[in-house]
């Protein structure tokens, strides 16, 4: 059975404070009765009730009592610790006691707000208060642990979010490692032609920033690289990065582009080209790529597949091609990490009734972006899949894969706006062409967005409010032959409509990256059900994660447009800068520690720790907790068969005492307990 530590302690003097919280608590719980009853506990020196304990008067009550009555422990029965634990710990500290000699009883969220039964609520309040009193008596003073913050930062992902964050930090004088999986930074924004609502040329506003990153003294740019391992904790992360072999010597390459020209192997560009264009086996994604060194795609390179060719090597004027180049493993230390890995476009092949992949002239949004881009495969001409014919009628379909219980229930936020943008671009490129826009709702919340919508209304776009049921080439009526027929219910007219068009653009939604779970595990973060990374608090802490020192920014946190992404990139950077500015950060002392004399060296705890915070000392044959790595979950404490591990602030004695306190009114007679 349980061995309870017999501690020879002098009686503690506990101050108990029952908060009314106006009528929030006092309206249901009889606070005076609870106070009176608490006062009878032998450990309690003084019991008070007050209207608003969190007010300065309330806090001063605590401070005064500690000083005047020599209290050694404090209990406040009020709201949730997530609200005011910090507040009352502060009051305790100002009164002269260690802040951890304080315990809170949640009699609001867990009691007065959760029931109308006043008697039951009061009874429950007594239990909760008693639990807190019995527990706090066993509290030990604890000191926060200082951790130094390494001023370097790792930014994962070189899209606009990562670029913004990296530049902000680099400009503040701190060093940044920017790791990007592709051969160049730029991300999805580099694929886009114009950005809504200003119709800025995307590349024109992006490339100066890309150049800044490439040239910045404070940024180490690692492209075609991936983070493989992350060890450590806030202020001191050890990062291992694999720099994949591009087969191009960076010091020798002049970015002349001859290798790309001469390469005979052409493949469909699934990445930057969104599958609409071609690239060579040795390639730069686009001419303004940063860095400008090409990447050799070994899977499609004739030399790597068959042993022949080597044309790039022959023609390179500086002999920069190196087929023997190997992956490089890099290790470095950083204090903070910002994850900005971006999004994937919803795969429209999942919706067979829209015909993407089967019907030639159904395009996705990214395919259309590349088409309408002047540097794209069609030179900016809007044409059908045959590369030549100009469409006379174009349909744009909203909410493909979004707002759909069968695929993704959430709204992807940007699609309405970019659909309007496409409508405008089609009007611009082909003034005679008719545009039909099929929408459910028109979501235009940002600055200038509604005005942009009105502009499109004036441009004679046909807006049909109805979710598209089907896109088919099976014609029924005259006038439909050879066309793509978009069938939708026009809900404003209350009729089914079949609209024959030449080209359909599917506004596919934003999804989390396919490997987001893997990335989350790597950085000890969490993902939600849709794969987007979990922020610490959806309203108040959107760029922080539950793991100290790891931040997220941009579309990897949830679908958003460019202004929001840039804002988040800056926010993450500023939070990191704040930590760097503080130099040292105080960490919560809720951690485990192993009592050497009781440890049997069984090592069961070693593999249980998700933070690898327990090491085995082979000489002493005992396990040891690395305090700074320990996050205080307590799993090892519960697992130790010898009971040799103490979880600070959640010791067995404390929890068991709280249990006994909670069950004060249902305890069996004393002679029956502790048999």
């Amino acid at each position: 059975m349980v061995e309870e530590k017999e501690k020879n302690m002098q009686k503690e003097k506990v101050g108990v404070y029952i908060c009314h919280c106006g009528s929030n608590i006092a309206g249901t719980v009889d606070v005076e009765e609870v106070r009176e009853w608490a006062g009878n506990n032998p450990n309690v020196e003084v019991a008070r009730d007050y209207e608003f304990m969190c007010s300065s008067t309330g806090q001063e009550l605590i401070e005064k009592d500690i000083k005047e009555k020599g209290l050694t422990r404090v209990v406040v029965a009020s709201c949730s610790p997530h609200m005011h634990e910090k507040t009352f710990r502060g009051a305790t500290e100002r009164g002269g006691l260690n802040p951890f000699l304080y315990e809170m009883a949640n009699i609001r969220e867990h009691d007065s707000w959760a029931t109308n039964d006043k008697e039951a609520a009061t009874q429950k309040a007594k239990s909760l208060v008693n639990g807190a009193i019995e527990r706090v008596v066993h509290h030990e003073p604890l000191e926060k642990i200082p951790v130094e913050i390494n001023p370097n930062t790792l930014v994962v992902g070189g899209g606009i979010a990562g670029i913004t964050a990296a530049l902000e930090l680099a400009n503040s004088g701190n060093h940044v490692y920017l790791v990007e999986r592709e051969g160049t930074i730029g991300g999805h924004m580099a694929q886009i032609d114009k950005t809504f609502p200003t119709l800025d040329c995307s590349a024109c506003i992006l490339t100066p920033k890309m150049v800044d990153v490439g040239q910045h003294d404070n940024i180490t740019l690692l492209t075609y690289s991936e983070v493989e391992k992350v060890d450590g904790y806030i202020g001191n992360f050890e990062i291992s990065v694999r720099k994949k072999a591009r087969c191009v010597e960076e010091e020798l390459c002049t970015s002349c582009g001859i290798c790309e020209e001469k390469c005979p192997a052409q493949v469909v560009d699934e990445g930057y080209g969104a599958g609409l264009g071609y690239r060579k086996a040795i390639y730069r994604a686009f001419p303004q790529a940063v860095p400008g060194y090409p990447v050799l795609d070994k899977e499609n390179c004739i030399y790597f597949q068959t042993g022949k060719c080597r044309a790039c090597e022959k023609f390179c004027p500086t002999e920069a091609i190196n087929f023997e180049q190997e992956d490089e493993m890099l290790k470095f230390n950083v204090g903070n990490i910002i994850i900005a890995t971006g999004y994937d476009l919803f795969d429209a092949r999942q919706i067979p009734q829209y015909g993407y992949g089967r019907l030639e002239n159904v395009f996705t949004s990214l395919e259309f972006e590349r088409m309408v881009n002047a540097s794209g495969p069609t030179g900016g001409h809007v044409v059908l899949r045959d590369g030549e014919t100009e469409p006379e009628r174009v349909a744009i379909v909203h909410c493909v894969g979004s707002r759909d219980k069968n695929y993704n229930e959430y709204c992807s936020k940007v699609c309405c706006m970019y659909s309007l943008k496409f409508a405008h671009l089609v009007h611009e490129h082909l003034p005679e062409t008719e545009v039909y826009d099929f929408y459910i709702d028109m979501r235009t919340p940002g600055k200038g967005y509604e005005e942009f919508y009105n502009r499109l209304l004036k441009e004679d776009t046909h807006f049909i409010r109805g979710r598209v049921a089907e896109i088919t080439d099976a014609d029924h009526q005259p006038g439909e032959e050879g066309k793509l027929i978009v069938q939708a219910e026009n809900t404003l007219l209350g009729k089914q409509q079949r609209v024959p068009v030449d080209m359909v653009i599917l506004s596919a939604g934003i999804e989390a990256r396919a490997d987001s779970e893997k990335v989350a595990n790597l950085f000890k973060m969490g993902c939600d059900y849709d794969g987007f990374f979990n922020e610490r608090h959806p309203k108040l802490a959107p760029v922080a994660t539950m793991t100290d020192g790891v931040f997220i920014a941009g579309a990897c946190q949830g679908p958003k447009d460019i202004p929001e992404t840039v804002a988040q990139g800056g926010a993450a950077a500023s939070q990191v800068a704040s930590l760097i500015g503080q130099g040292t950060v105080m960490m919560e002392p809720v951690r485990a520690s192993i009592r050497e004399e009781d440890c049997s060296g069984c090592r069961i705890c070693n593999n249980l720790c998700p933070y690898n915070a327990i090491e085995f000392d082979a000489e002493k044959e005992v396990s040891e907790v690395i305090t700074a790595l320990c996050q205080g979950c307590g799993t090892c404490v519960a697992a130790c068969p010898s009971g040799a591990i103490d979880g600070a602030h959640f010791t067995n004695t404390q929890v068991m005492s709280e249990l006994q306190g909670l069950l004060w009114d249902v305890q069996p007679a004393p002679e029956k307990v502790n048999v």
């Binding site: 029931t115 539950m546 799993t635 404490v637 069950l663 069996p668 307990v673």
Partner: protein, 153 residues
């Protein structure tokens, strides 16, 4: 005062998910059975089976262990360890004749206040139907020796 027997449930709620779920239930003013008395732990992985046994021995009629959904644990996989311990504990409890409904496990994320409230309600009714546990009579004999009821094969 209702004459009805009111079961007492001890709830071990993890700081990051289920405790916040209970907070949310309160903030949303969802009314549910007041029979669950919560204890905060940092992670459901902290819940030692001894806590559960102590609760039952000290008069609780049931114990609810609530943690984050698998895959969402703030400490990566503490809830999985809780699940393992819980499974083993249930086997032991079963051999002592403790009914299945008395110790339960629940995954509730911070946004699932309703789910937690509903489970507390369901569990309260289940325990009300079973009646008080009376650990000392059921599991421990009056003279202190363990009486293990022989289970039918």
């Amino acid at each position: 005062m209702s004459e009805q027997y009111e079961p007492v449930i001890v709830g071990f709620l993890c700081n990051w998910c289920s405790y916040r779920a209970a907070d949310l239930a309160g903030t949303s003013r969802i009314k549910y059975a007041p029979n669950m008395r919560p204890i905060r732990v940092m992670c459901s992985g902290r819940v030692d089976p001894q806590f559960v046994l102590k609760a039952l021995r000290n008069g609780a009629d049931g114990v609810l262990i609530a943690g984050c959904h698998p895959g969402e644990c703030h400490y990566v996989n503490g809830n999985i360890k809780a699940l393992r311990r819980y499974t083993m504990l249930k086997k032991a409890l079963d051999q002592w004749g403790i009914e299945e409904e008395r110790v339960q496990l629940l995954w509730a994320s911070a946004s699932e206040g309703t789910k937690l409230a509903e489970r507390v309600n369901t569990m309260t009714e289940e325990l009300r139907a079973l009646g008080p546990l009376r650990w000392h009579e059921k599991v421990l004999a009056d003279n202190g020796a363990h009486r293990v009821p022989v289970k039918e094969a």
